[in-house]
Amino acid sequence: MSTTLVDSPAPPRQEIRHRRRPPYLPWLLLSATMILLGVLTGYPVLRLVVMSFQEYERAQLMGQPAAWVGLDNYAEVLTDVEGFWVVLGRSFLLMVFLVVTTLVLGMLVALLMMRVGKALRLLVSVGLLLAWAMPALSATTVWGWVFDTQYGVVNNLLTRITGDDWFGHSWLLNPLSFFLILSFIVVWGAVPFVAFTLYAGLTQIPEEVMEAAQLDGASAFQRFRLIQVPYVRSIITVLVVLSMIWDLKLFTQVFVLQDIGGDRELTNTIGVYIYQTGMAQGHYGLASAVGVIFVAVMLAIAYPYVRRTLREEEL
């Protein structure tokens, strides 16, 4: 604590007992939220963990008792190379591609919004908001129509432009083509958030710094790399972590697109895989095990970034 100028041989017993009232008010205010969160989020997570140690099939939903199988479910999942590991690997690759594309495009759009005039900026903002507000299910369905094999707009346009007959060209049959379409849809829906957030962050940078750099002879790219990016680095970190988590647990778009066409087995990502194992096939115990493993993976991804951000804030 504080050092006194006079160093006494023994520390004086000055402990005045400060009876501070235990802070009850913050806990009271938090209690409503905590109860709601506990019921809505905590209980399902608890059920998930418990179920991952049981053999839970359709019959158990109707009341039959569930047998405890210990780590059997986990063993089965972790040794399932063709199923679980391939899907996990595929989801990771997809996630990397999506995050990089979303951030690059989002940054470009944010920079664009800084350069253009007010009217055009408003137009871009409205467009971005509409894309962001559209529910994933409707968006994927409409995109599916656009790329429809027989009656789609894209095939029609390509036929007119290139002269070759694109009618009947299936965009979803080939897995790589499937993921290309999926990327269109996901990036289209994810860029608005990234763009708005980065725009907000970039506009905070004081003009004088940028002007000074320009006067010193820095090129646009150097200014971007050496001034703008460091200024918004914490924002970029948050966006990267959020995007990684969202893109890894992607479900709606993949599920709906698989319904429209394509090979399920070759295009499953981890979210759809959990659904297929659990709801579609009725192996709830196995699906819970996959779910728990997935949560662990995502925590592992998020942990270093969160820790770094917390440390930076303390400084």
């Binding site: 008010l25 359709r58 939903l61 109707m62 009947g168 394509g262 090979d263």
Partner: protein, 431 residues
């Protein structure tokens, strides 16, 4: 300072109370166990197979026989039905009577999702008169759970305007050849979407193959890569790649669309598609689907898929079963609805609309004077079911067959696809 704290504490107490009471009320609508008296019954019918006349009859008759009670029909989609039923039937808000595909019934009867129909009730509802194959599909361990609702096999539709002078094929090989000959850039000989596996089964069966058989010790063996299976698959690939313009990765919904554009010579579809094709171009109801009653629907004809040596081929026995949910809130009213659904009058309405009723005695109610009716009767007489395993519903819901046939439609090696398909099916059936 103290007053602020007091205000703060009061505010938080009020918020807490409001939040908790909101939670409390939401869960407060508990359903009390009912035995008698008027109530509400929900019937889930799937797809558009059940004609409107039948639905009206059901509702009116039920409300007459049970004064004060109401019956609501909720239509479900075939896609994702198994997942939907798993969650709905095991929850607290289960429907009362549900229609289930005959191939999917085993998944639910084996897990206790349906209420058992006792032997006496079974006799009252029809007993031996009910379609035997379908009764089997709805039984589990000797008890009845799901009863037959209707059956309808696939027939091959055509319009003379499109077919012209080409003669109708009389054997399966002729069928394949005609399809390949007729195909042009705009016209499909046979319109066969890649994911349609129902139409593939006759080719497997007619060539001596099988889908899956259970050995003495209970293990299942799949037969797509057997000799007969491979021959059938090769014929299928010939049609799909050389006689067909349909995309390789779409399924068999809305088949009336290309037919009504005149792009199809032969359309192999369930007999009730005649209503979709013969719907007026301007639908009468806002959500009606337009058809082509005045063009290709006007001279719509059909024949039963020809067998290897003439006659009718063995086709897939399409159709549905009907069951009462175990968790139904009013099983007594649900059974009353079930009685109406299986009554002679209701089944006759189904028969008049081209569906084959659940009771064999009512078969003559199906109008066999048209070529469509006659073809449907011929096909139904030769219909076969998919393997009787509770895990078959998993094979269907995992889209294994659809994926395999998409690959065949894309021209991949038949033997490789067949062997993988067999391995996948065996893995699920034997799990």
């Amino acid at each position: 300072m103290n007053r602020n704290r007091l205000v703060g504490a009061a505010a938080s107490a009020i918020t807490l109370t409001l939040a908790l009471s909101a939670c409390g009320n939401a869960g407060g609508a508990a359903s009390s166990p009912e035995e008698t008296g008027p109530g509400e019954v929900r019937v889930w019918l799937v797809g558009s197979d059940t004609p409107q006349d039948a639905r009206d009859y059901l509702k009116e008759t039920f409300e007459e026989e049970n004064p004060g009670s109401t019956l609501t029909i909720e239509e479900q989609a075939w896609d994702g039905l198994v997942d939907k039923y798993t969650t709905a039937l095991s929850g607290s808000d289960a429907p009362d009577v549900v229609e289930i595909g005959n191939t999917q019934a085993a998944a639910f009867t084996s897990s206790g999702y349906f209420r058992e129909i006792t032997a006496e009730e079974f006799e009252t509802l029809g007993g031996d008169d009910l379609l035997p194959g379908f009764v089997e599909a709805g039984d589990w361990e000797g008890k009845h759970y799901a009863l037959p609702y209707y059956s309808g096999s696939r027939v091959v539709f055509y319009s003379d305007q499109v077919l012209g002078d080409t003669p109708v094929p009389t054997t399966l090989d002729e069928y394949v050849e005609t399809a390949v000959d007729l195909r042009t850039k705009d016209l499909s000989g046979v319109y066969w979407p890649g994911q349609d596996w129902y139409n593939a089964l006759p080719f497997i069966w007619e060539n001596g193959g099988f889908v899956a058989e259970q050995a003495e010790d209970g293990t299942w063996e799949a037969g797509f890569s057997s000799e007969g299976g491979l021959k059938g698959l090769e014929q299928i690939q010939t049609i799909m790649t050389e006689g067909n313009n349909a995309p390789a990765d779409t399924n068999e919904t809305d088949l009336q669309v290309p037919f009504c554009e005149g792009q199809v010579a032969f359309l192999s579809a369930p007999s009730w598609i005649q209503w979709s094709i013969n719907a007026p171009e301007e639908p009468e109801t806002p959500d009606g689907v337009p058809g082509c009653a005045s063009t290709y629907g006007s001279d719509l004809e059909a024949f039963a898929l020809p067998g290897k040596d003439g006659g009718a081929a063995q086709v897939f026995a399409g159709g549905s079963n009907i069951a009462v949910a175990q968790k139904s809130a009013r099983p007594d009213l649900a059974m009353s609805a079930l009685e109406i659904l299986l009554s002679d009058e209701y089944q006759t309405i189904l028969a008049e609309n081209g569906l084959f009723p659940a009771k064999t005695s009512l078969f003559e109610g199906v109008d066999q004077s048209t070529s469509i009716g006659a073809a449907a009767a011929e096909a139904a007489a030769n219909a076969k079911l998919t393997p009787a395993s509770p895990k078959w519903a998993d094979v269907e819901s995992q889209m294994i067959l659809q994926t395999a046939f998409s690959k065949i439609a894309s021209g991949e090696d038949v033997k490789a696809v067949a062997e993988k398909l067999d391995a996948d099916i065996e893995e699920i059936l034997n799990s």
